[in-house]
């Protein structure tokens, strides 16, 4: 099997590994970087659990091959909070508004919402619902998540 070398920056740290070209960025993050906060639900781009920031843009890491990210700057859920483990404003809002139950989908939601509020600091409810449409949650019924986004926006997340 022909291997390719991937060099990326993940949450500010340089990472390098030799992987198969068919390895997705999601599997690379979980297996080669041991960053298992990025969750894999559907593995074909539907559920959004594996969302990460790729050069700042929220993307599904199951639909990008690791080799395609060579040279890129990646932020995963592990890089969203503070260095001492303190919650980011979006994470805190999810906790405070009961925006999660089992938590499996939460990393994808938090990363997506972090990017969304960065680009739209004062969204309408319709914009919030549209922005959340790319992530599936099977527990909450979404109302707590919508409340969390409202709360985070009010808290002035940027």
């Amino acid at each position: 099997m022909k291997m390719v070398t991937v060099t990326v920056t993940v949450n500010g740290e340089p990472r390098r590994a030799s992987v198969e070209a068919r390895k997705t960025l999601a599997d690379f993050l979980r297996e080669d970087c041991a960053l298992t906060g990025t969750h894999l639900g559907c593995e074909h781009g539907v559920c959004g659990a594996c969302t990460v920031l790729l050069d700042g843009a929220a993307v599904r890491s199951c639909l990008v091959f690791a080799v395609q990210a060579d040279g890129a700057d990646i932020t995963t859920i592990e890089g969203i909070g503070g260095p001492g483990g303190e919650l980011s404003p979006v994470q805190a809002a999810f906790r405070d508004a009961h925006g999660l139950q089992c938590g499996f989908c939460t990393p994808g939601f938090v990363v997506s919402v972090t990017a969304f509020l960065r680009d739209n600091a004062d969204p309408t409810d319709e914009e919030i619902r549209d922005a959340l449409s790319g992530n599936l949650c099977r527990c909450t019924g979404y109302q707590g998540i919508i409340n969390a986004v409202r709360l985070a926006a009010r808290a002035g997340v940027r």
Binding site: M1, K2, V4, E20, A21, R22, K23, T24, D27, E43, H44, G45, G48, T51, L54, A57, A58, V59, R60, C62, L63, V64, F65, V67, Q68, S112, F116, R129, D130, A131, S133, G134
Partner: protein, 301 residues
Amino acid sequence: MKPAPFEYHAPESVDDVAGLLAEHGDEAKPLAGGQSLVPMLALRLTRFAHLVDLNRVAALRGVSRDNGSLTVRAMTTQAAVERDAEVARAVPLLARATPLIGHFQIRNRGTVGGSLAHADPASEYPAVALALDATFELVSKSGTTRVAASDFFEGTWQTCIDAQQALVAVHFPVWGGRCGFACEEVARRAGDFALAGAVAAIEVDDAGAVRRAAVGLFGLGPTPLRAHAAEAELIGEPPPTPDGYRALGQLAMRDADPVDDVHASASYRRRVGAHLVARTLASAVEEARQAHDPPGAARAR
């Protein structure tokens, strides 16, 4: 879940893309945004010995306007189209269709060329390109070919692009005069593929009669379709009445050929399609009648 093994190529020029496709023929597939191809590979619905990644070809990104047309290079992301003021001015229909594609995370990777080359009959851009008579620019080692949208879509996920060719740009005509545009669809959830959808482009003359009409249908047949009968009925006529729009919607379904599947029956798609045609036409005609400042002065929605 992972795709079958492939050899990965990351060319940085169009010449190198054409060279790789010439060398590997139908064993190779261009990889654009990957938002449709990668799931198909992961589910093993398809496999290729070689993937030719277009993401590092800088010359394939960007939008430019020249001589009455807007050129969108193939690897321009849907997110870039969504943010581009020139697209909104020059080809409002393209701009308005874009937020309906997938989710913002999909649009960050998904590209104009990838969406068109994938040619899903339920997706938005193929219907926009067909309605506006866009021209597709294909490159292979033997040169550049231009193909009309009416010749581009051959079937579900089938286009006229051969294994040695790559889609490098799409040229959208810029409509001048008093114009209006609309795009609407019905999907089970936001971001899902449309059960049915319609796009409309209308130009009216000084007296308010319809001078030019284009209606595109998606999710209503094996390829994107034009509602030719409805278009012909509109041209030269004053704006229709509400009953007239409903009749045009019904007429448009004569050009539709929807399928029954688990998501919706063909008859449901026709009923929805007729309403969407009526609504998009009414909205586009009204916008055209309110427009005074040609060209490309269509207001934001």
